[in-house]
Assembly symmetry: C4
Homo-oligomer: 304 residues x 4
């Protein structure tokens, strides 16, 4: 499939996070279910969970290998966990591989899948089942993107109206392009224009919201295109992306439309990073600072 | 049983937490024993413990599944734990189910029961035994409320003078109403007036202090009614209620009369939430911020 | 043995902690070895360790049941641990009960023994062996005091010049008096004068430094008497004493004479509590705040 | 081998850490792999990891005994871990002792080896294999220095162009001198001049960058000599050196030449300590404060 230039509608006004009504309760802000973490990568699961909690979610549960669950709770007691069966710290299949059935009692409003998930076969199957069968909106990141890329070009369609948000960095996006049989022509150059075209085309073709990370992160649903202006290279530190994944899920859980949630999440995440860098310097700031500064970013979001 | 309007005495002056005397020691501020936590919900136990500690208790012990105890201590070293035997992370019966006998050596002045406790049969039996036999005041929350609701309408009376404080949210309150055979008439509407009437009637009928959560939390002992004015929807985040449970127990342990402790606890908890939201925004604040801001709230309680 | 009034020399000038020389290294500030902690009381071990670290020690190792060690490190990575063999979370004897031989390779300059240690027989034997055989100065607190009281009135003498500091609260002191066959006459009243006399007599009789906790903590070596003026009832919260135990050991490790270290430690500990209460309120402050405010207290010790 | 005075070129201008380019990503700031930690010394591994993260590294993985890995992540979720097989909390050989082959998939740009590693035979073999075979630059500290000293005087050469940075304190340096058959004459005195000569000669002889700790830390590559001016005796506290090890590795990972990275690291580490002491006092500051103040030091490095 060759690259065609397409011209999406630019979104210039930053979508804003919703206010909280005086008469409201936890259920109004969404149950976020995060499938993440594996042996050696428990922190990624915790950081996603913190991104969702500080992102305003009502309830956040991290489904993770049982060996990871205690670490996650120790990092943030506001996170609930669902310990999953493992072998050697990596996931094994639930009940004959029926992940959705097993996690159904948690009644999620939105999913986030992938940070630190690892690349076991069981994780691969879980991601594919979620993609194809889960009826709630879901954000796919990190190892979940690799699992999608690895499933070959013949992607099944998600259930109708079940939004899928993908948040690759450029390397993961290339793998998705190739994995979904959309690799660019051989002479394709990674220019800003081509980057926008590829992102928009991919989103339109697969009917997803694509958030393509970069110094200027792009968000597109195949029709609209948002270019984020916040953020700084101090955020090039392990785990920063995991916070974003949880944040976008939280915003969807609070009722934002998925494309707008991805735009708003990218903006607030970068804003948090800018506030962190102002206090802690670019090299000195790290991913676990972002949730705290996310709170500051909500208080002073700099939308205009 | 149909709903009758009753007119409780409104409490308009916020009951104040007691001062600490210069000549005093840990024993003067109460031993709080918290029965809480289960696999995947260790954080709830820790948050209750933190609420009790930052609420001024002299000593706080969290009795919890052994797998949860290390997580609790890791979150706050000022908490002692009593690891309880479990199967698969959930409680199993102590010594032929005699919970009180087994925990007796801890000599609690007040109990808090329920946050993250789970719904195992052993937990159910523990809650019922505490309700019926424990001679100290006890705060019942979360899964302990569900356990009470599930025991059927024929509730045993607690020992004379053993105060019981119940802290349901509206959904839990409905289950309690139904479980205690006090469901409203079919055409009952959830108006502010009916809410007050139901709460007051329930408290009077069962001889309990009822704290009914909401944007304006109510506290009643069946005679008096207090409507709390602090708090904000940023507190609609998982675990915020667990902090309140521990806090009320701590205030009882410091010598407050249970109804007044519930009123004062609701006020200070909401005040802590308002102070947290002022610094961290409503969506950005989370439950684990509350204990720290509770300290600030004590310093500037805004009682008038 | 009846109580005789004796008149110790009052110490009115607060002994000051030593400065740090520009040319110095970790070894100059002492290796503190803390024997503490048991199942359910891991936090006490960590708080003592933090008191020693923030008290200026060069190196701090917490010898504790192996199940406690990971919790301690998780709370403060600057603490080293020596995991000890246990059964069911409680200590069992080392190498045929030769505790000192087994811990010898850690080369401690000073010991702190007791916080959260529990009352197992092995712990009892460890305390007694340390009392009788350890040639370094040692601070005995909490369960170590109970172990001393339980050994009967015929106390062995420690090695010559091996200082022993005991830090009981009034209840523990009564047990020590009775255990060492020095119980007061039956009509003895707990007046301030008698309290001073008993403390001084006990210290003189047993050749120890006694720190007797209270709203005005006393320190005496049987000759001199210091009455501490800092501190507040907000410190009547579980774990505050554990921080003091570590702090005194750290000051001894930095070269202070044991009586002066106990006086200075009492002063700084109370000062930290006063600074904590000013920011966090008396009911809102907790033991784990003290190490941080101890740093502030060193910076502004208020010695005059 | 006797000591010959040599005159290195003094480096008077502090080498500065690199800026971060707007268009950059995690990979541009280096993958740091830290081999550290053992039973009872998990904190050293975590502190090194924090030093690397707050030092600006893109990705930091701590390879450590499996029992240590969860503690490390619990302290800082931005750290990834690679749990290694152990017996009794100490390392055992990987795949017939081929450490490099086993860790190869982590694709490190730079290594840091030694903090809390312990002195097991497997650790000894791992250090020697890294020294001889690892083609990336590597920082050797603490137990890794002891392992080098113990291998006898006939040191193998590292691969060409594979930089080796050694960060001993004076005691470790003496052991290295002896271990590499470079002990000073018997009448050698530890004067400032001799200290400089020995350091420079050792660095030149072994073709390493040597950072010799002290109140005025020296850095030399055998040609150049840098004397650090920051730092204070409050940093004579367990774990402070572990932070430095990670920091130097992070600076190398960001592209600094190893000698300059060691100079810059020494400066920033001392600067962080000075900022910490200003807020927390010399006795009150501890190693785990340094990573946070390292961020402040980057923001205000005081290079001139």
């Amino acid at each position: 499939m060759t690259v065609h230039r397409i011209t999406p509608v630019p979104v210039t006004s930053i979508p804003r996070h919703p206010d909280r009504a005086a008469e409201s309760h936890k259920g109004d802000y969404g149950r976020v279910l995060i499938l993440a973490g594996s042996r050696g990568m428990a922190g990624a699961a915790a950081l996603s969970g913190l991104g969702a909690l500080r992102g305003g979610a009502g309830l956040v549960t991290v489904a993770c290998p049982e060996t990871v669950a205690d670490v996650v709770t120790g990092i943030e007691p506001g996170l609930m966990t669902r310990p999953l069966p493992t072998t050697g710290g990596h996931l094994i299949d639930h009940r004959d591989g029926h992940w959705l059935a097993d996690l159904d009692d948690l009644k999620p409003d939105v999913w986030a899948v992938g940070p630190g998930l690892g690349r076991s076969e069981a994780a691969q199957r879980a991601v594919q089942e979620l993609w194809e069968s889960c009826e709630e909106p879901a954000v796919f990141d990190a190892d979940a993107l690799n699992a999608l890329a690895d499933q070959g070009g013949d992607w099944a369609d998600p259930p109708a109206d079940a939004a899928r948000v993908l948040t690759p960095h450029p390397g993961e996006f290339m793998r998705l392009l190739i994995g979904s049989d959309m690799q660019p022509e051989e002479d394709f150059e990674w220019t800003p224009e081509n980057r926008e075209s590829l992102a928009t085309m991919f989103a339109r073709e697969h009917n997803v919201v694509l958030l393509l990370k970069g110094s200027r992160t792009l968000v597109t649903d195949g029709e609209r295109l948002f270019e984020n202006r916040t953020g700084n290279p101090g955020m090039a530190s392990g785990g920063c992306g995991d916070v974003l994944t949880g944040l976008i899920a939280a915003l969807i859980g609070q009722g934002m439309e998925p494309f707008e949630a991805a735009c708003c999440g990218a903006h607030l995440h970068g804003r948090a990073g800018d506030l962190a860098a102002a206090e802690l310097s670019q090299p000195g700031m790290i991913a676990s600072d972002l949730p705290r500064f996310l709170a500051t970013a909500f208080a002073d979001p700099g939308y205009d």
